[in-house]
């Protein structure tokens, strides 16, 4: 390992300018922090986290819609990570004077909210609770499981998202100062390499795409360090290609069976990303063919009530700037956790304000938990 660090140092000297590499996947951010990788890198190589924490990018409206269903007495199943993520709806009671509600708080208020590890667990739970709604979220790594469960009769509120459109949106952000992407390993195991290559090609919308080096990476410390080396090599040689470091898992074509499941059950629609806004063609919505398992259709009347409640104060609450939280800028790589006034002051892992602090894969939560590993900042 020492030797490859030496190679990285040589390349960094050769490049001789500040280089910013973005970890697109929250699991990579976690790996970088856990292994103290930032400390091993030369001064001019900087790592930045991006939008790849699925819980962090789940829009408040989706969280509030699921909470509304829960408060109406509909049993909910969800992954544990999303439980404490605050929505934009406020509650005011004895316990919480004025606070943004989360699924966890809804549970304390008596709602039937169940943490599950997998859709299989949700299907099992549905046998006991026939009107159970599963809160489906995540990128292509979890969308196939939800698709399969829908085919087997699980009712789902889908907040699933496609990953590559978020990268396209990042590339369209002029302020973004990034020189290369560390691409997510397990999203890539499903989607393969083609969607990333498309980002390098001109489209009807974007005739001059920003071409940045991309390397699909595994999750070991070794994987991440080799990936950094491969990205620097591309930068030093003035190349912008999609390379695959994680060949032991990621095939060029991805997982066609999983993609088939996704495409059979979901259709691509525009979607809202928390703190980022609307990204075209980035959401997986349940196809009309399966609408009887679509909680958004089944409980349209309840969810609509949330819409009618959408007063100006509610819509204002969706704007992250109003709480001082800068999650949106952090998810887009424009700011870092330390740039936030709330970071480790009023926003802590114990009392999170923004989604980036709640999730185990959020940039702020990771920064707070591993502060000694991150250049001592």
């Amino acid at each position: 390992m020492k030797n490859i660090i030496k190679q990285i140092n040589t390349l960094a000297q050769k490049i001789d300018r500040q280089v910013v590499l973005m970890e697109l996947c929250g699991t990579h951010t976690e790996a970088v922090a856990r292994h103290g990788i930032k400390k091993l890198l030369p001064k001019n190589i900087k790592l930045l986290s991006g939008p790849g924490c699925p819980v962090c990018v789940t829009d408040q409206r989706d969280i509030d819609a699921v909470i509304t269903l829960a408060l109406e007495g509909i049993p909910i199943a969800c992954y544990g990570d999303v439980l404490r993520v605050p929505g934009a709806m406020k509650i005011s009671n004895i316990q919480y004077p004025i606070s943004n509600i989360s699924l966890d708080k809804a549970r304390e208020m008596g709602a039937d909210v169940n943490e599950v590890y997998s859709t299989e667990d949700a299907l099992e739970l549905q046998k006991k609770k026939p009107n159970l709604v599963f809160f489906g979220l995540g990128f292509e790594t979890t969308a196939p499981m939800t698709a399969s469960a829908i085919k087997r009769g699980l009712t789902v509120y889908s907040s699933h998202k496609a990953f590559a459109p978020a990268m396209a949106a990042l590339l369209d952000t002029p302020q973004l100062k990034v020189d290369g992407f560390i691409n997510p390993g397990h999203v890539s195991a499903i989607i393969g390499v083609e969607p990333y290559k498309k980002l390098l090609q001109p489209t009807t919308y974007n005739l001059q795409p920003r071409k940045l080096p991309q390397v699909i990476a595994g999750f070991d410390a070794n994987d991440v360090i080799i990936t950094i080396y491969m990205l620097l090599k591309q930068i030093a040689e003035n190349r912008a290609e999609v390379e695959n470091q994680y060949v032991r898992v990621v095939r060029p074509e991805g997982n066609p069976k999983a993609m088939k499941l996704i495409n059979e059950v979901f259709e691509i629609k525009d979607a809202y990303w928390r703190g980022i806004g609307k990204i075209p063609n980035s959401g997986f919505e349940i196809r009309p063919k399966y609408s009887r398992f679509d909680a958004k259709v089944k409980y349209e009347n309840i969810i609509e009530r949330l819409g009618s409640k959408a007063s100006k104060s509610y819509l204002d609450a969706l704007l992250p700037s109003n709480s001082g939280c800068i999650c949106g800028a952090i998810l887009r790589g424009l700011k870092e956790p330390q740039d936030c006034k709330l970071f480790r002051k009023t926003c802590t892992p114990e009392n999170p304000i923004g989604a980036c602090m709640v999730s185990s894969e959020g940039a702020c939560g990771i920064e707070a938990r591993y502060k000694e590993n991150q250049n001592g900042k």
Binding site: M1, N3, I4, K6, Q7, C25, G26, T27, E30, G52, C53, P54, V55, Y79, D81, Y117, S118, T119, E120, D121, G138, F139, T141, T142, P144, M145, S148, P184, G185, H186, V187, A189, I190, V193, V215, G218, F219, N222, I226, Y229, M230, K233, E241, V242, E243, N244, Q245, V247, R248, V249, V250, R251, P252, N255, K257, A258, L261, S359, E361
Partner: protein, 86 residues
């Protein structure tokens, strides 16, 4: 969210696609619907599903590369061999 762990398939029910997968001795019931696998294969498991078969040869190649990195001369050709797609 996207952390996935490798395990070895102990037994598999071809009808239901459910398999018993061992993770360092801890056994779990895993859905193998989206992969073509058999008993004895290694799989990467995420949220209750095997998402990809772990090719033994690829795994060994990676291990070999990691071992070579320990030596003084780092062979560039090996990094190239890991980047099959160009």
């Amino acid at each position: 969210m996207c952390l996935a762990i490798p395990g070895k398939i102990k037994s598999i029910d071809k009808k239901t696609h459910h398999a018993t997968v061992s993770f360092n001795g801890i056994e779990k019931n895993i859905n193998t619907e989206i992969v073509d696998v058999a008993k004895g294969d290694y799989v990467i498991v995420h949220a209750g599903y095997a998402i990809e078969k772990l090719e033994k040869a690829d795994a060994l190649e990676t291990i070999k590369l990691f071992n070579e990195l320990k030596n003084d001369k780092f062979p560039m050709s090996n990094v190239k061999s890991m980047t099959k797609l160009k």
